[in-house]
Amino acid sequence: MNVLVFIKQVADTEARIIVSSDQRTLEIENKYTVNFFDEFAVEEAIRIKEALKDVQVTVCTYAPARAMEALKTTIAMGADRAFLIDSTNYEPDDPFVVSSVLAGFADKDGFDIILCGRQAMDDENANVGAMIAEFLGIPHVSLLTKLDVIDGGRVRVRSETEGGQKVSEIALPALFTTQKGLNEPRVPLITGVMKAMKIQIPVLDPASIGIPIGPIDCGSSKITILSYELPARRPSVHIIEGASPEEKVKNLVKSLKEDAKVL
């Protein structure tokens, strides 16, 4: 069985981000990490491999060369192989283009299960999973909290839905998005880290992959980025005074009612 995991390398929560003076570009501090939700995807793939025989776990990303580090992290966790599809000189951000490239890779490399995180922490889009499935013409289930392979051709999954949970059985091939609660992603062992240090991860040119949907060059995005700006800052906090907790609360509620007008 082939399990394919798509990951994204994202700026760390703590990374400093500067908006250029013309508001057209962002400068991101060089602190990157594997997207939080994608770690659950990698972990689940490795668990499937541990539970069944003859499973190959492949991790792939469409990104600039810096994302090699993120791929190495997944090898250290226990993935078998990894590929970097170099986005330099191509449209890197439009979910339509990203999904098109990754679907092209999946189609060429082959798969039974595709796993990816429910959304990226940087743009919070949550688009690429469902779009890849659409381009490949396979079913998908979002927001998995449990996955069991029933037999070679079917899985049973539990997933979060609007105001509840559902259990469904899906015929493979299929795509699933992962989130917190599915598993506990492992910390790589030293043997894994050694393996990751040695491995040569192939870098692919998107042009070498048969892309099923539309152009992917710079400018092919269906979306124009007009500008970036910093969010408006709140005025500094108004600390509510009072002789007792009760009086403070009374003054707070008065302010919420009369000044903030939210009650």
């Binding site: 839905t161 949970q165 500008s227």
Partner: protein, 326 residues
């Protein structure tokens, strides 16, 4: 392509979600500017009565009534929506950045080769079309995006992005018949609804959120009382969820849910960046923490520096009074 604006309306227990009414209100402005029509699209089973109520918001309400649409699935809903969009060919399709919107929109946008902009919080006009405000990196940066001319644009917005305003219309209600396609490769074997939490966390106007300072799961009962009183919801920080005091469903923050209620009250929350990124877009933020140096005070509008436990009962009483007066 027409210049019409479509809104996919979501319901919860046969009631239109507030987030959908927000989109209809904003959609009205766009349609007005473009001199085009605002359409509401409603899919489901037993939805005719609900569709009739949407005429106060939309020029035209299209509804599709089918047993196959009783519960949401991207296959059935996607098939129905695709056929409607192909028939009417609108410029813009608006939806909510809810679990349904996030699951359905990219699938159908991919199928129709449409532009997809997700999880936006605001909108303005730009040249002949619109520009969309979308936070990045947990709100550290705001981006403004525009769909390029020539393709249909799918845009999802976070709940609580716009005000709800009824239009002065008496719109037309149209029933469309389509063949709803189901994907036979998927079979739902059980569907559980958690009935207890009436308000959706992301749609709530009022959120009271507990952190490690709550000291244990048993103390969340007082937050529940206050949330119930205000018609809102209880939220939780990551440490609280990791300690299993509350369910993941309640988690606010970068690895949980992003919320923007009118009023957010943080109780015993220190204000880790992860959490701030999930609530920084709230209209008014109140922090209650005994540590005057807690980082949350840097992000709050109002603060009380005090031990939580005497504050909570007083807060309940005062909010109750304020509620009764208004």
């Amino acid at each position: 392509m027409t210049r019409d604006i479509f809104v996919l309306v979501e319901c919860r227990d046969s009631v239109v979600r507030k987030a959908s009414l927000e989109l209809l209100s904003k959609g009205r402005q766009i349609a007005g500017k473009f001199s085009s029509n605002l359409y509401a699209v409603l899919l489901g089973s037993g939805v005719k009565e609900v569709a009739d109520t949407l005429n106060e918001f939309a020029d035209k309400t299209i509804f599709i009534e089918s047993e196959e649409l009783k519960d949401y699935g991207w296959d059935t809903y996607g098939s129905a929506l695709e056929q409607i969009l192909k028939k009417y060919d609108p410029l813009i399709v608006l939806g909510t950045s809810s679990m349904t919107g996030r699951d359905l929109f990219p699938r159908v946008a991919g199928r129709l080769r449409a532009a997809m902009i997700s999880d936006a919080v605001g909108m303005d006009f730009h040249e002949e079309s619109v520009k969309i405000k979308k936070p990045l990196f947990g709100g550290k940066v705001i981006s403004w995006l525009a769909p390029k001319a020539g393709s249909m644009a799918f845009i999802t917005f976070r709940p609580n992005s716009f005000a709800v305003e009824k239009a002065d219309t008496n719109g037309e209600v149209i029933e469309e018949n389509v063949t709803v396609e189901k994907d036979r490769r998927m079979k739902t074997t059980s569907l559980e609804k958690s009935g207890s939490k009436k308000v959706d966390l992301q749609e709530a106007d009022f959120i009271i959120c507990g952190g490690r300072g709550m000291k244990g799961p048993e103390h969340f009962a007082s937050l529940e009382e206050i949330a119930g009183l205000m018609g809102g919801r209880v939220g939780a920080s990551r440490t609280v969820v990791d300690s299993k005091w509350r369910e993941y469903d309640d988690q606010i923050g970068k690895s949980g849910k992003t919320v923007s209620p009118k009023l957010y009250i943080g109780c015993g929350i220190s204000g880790a960046l992860h959490h701030i990124m999930g609530m920084d877009t709230s209209k008014v933020i109140v922090a209650i923490n005994k540590d005057p140096n807690a980082p949350i005070f840097q992000y709050a509008d109002y603060g009380i520096v005090e031990d939580l436990f005497p504050v909570l009962p007083a807060l309940k009483d005062e909010l109750k009074k304020a509620r009764e007066e208004s």
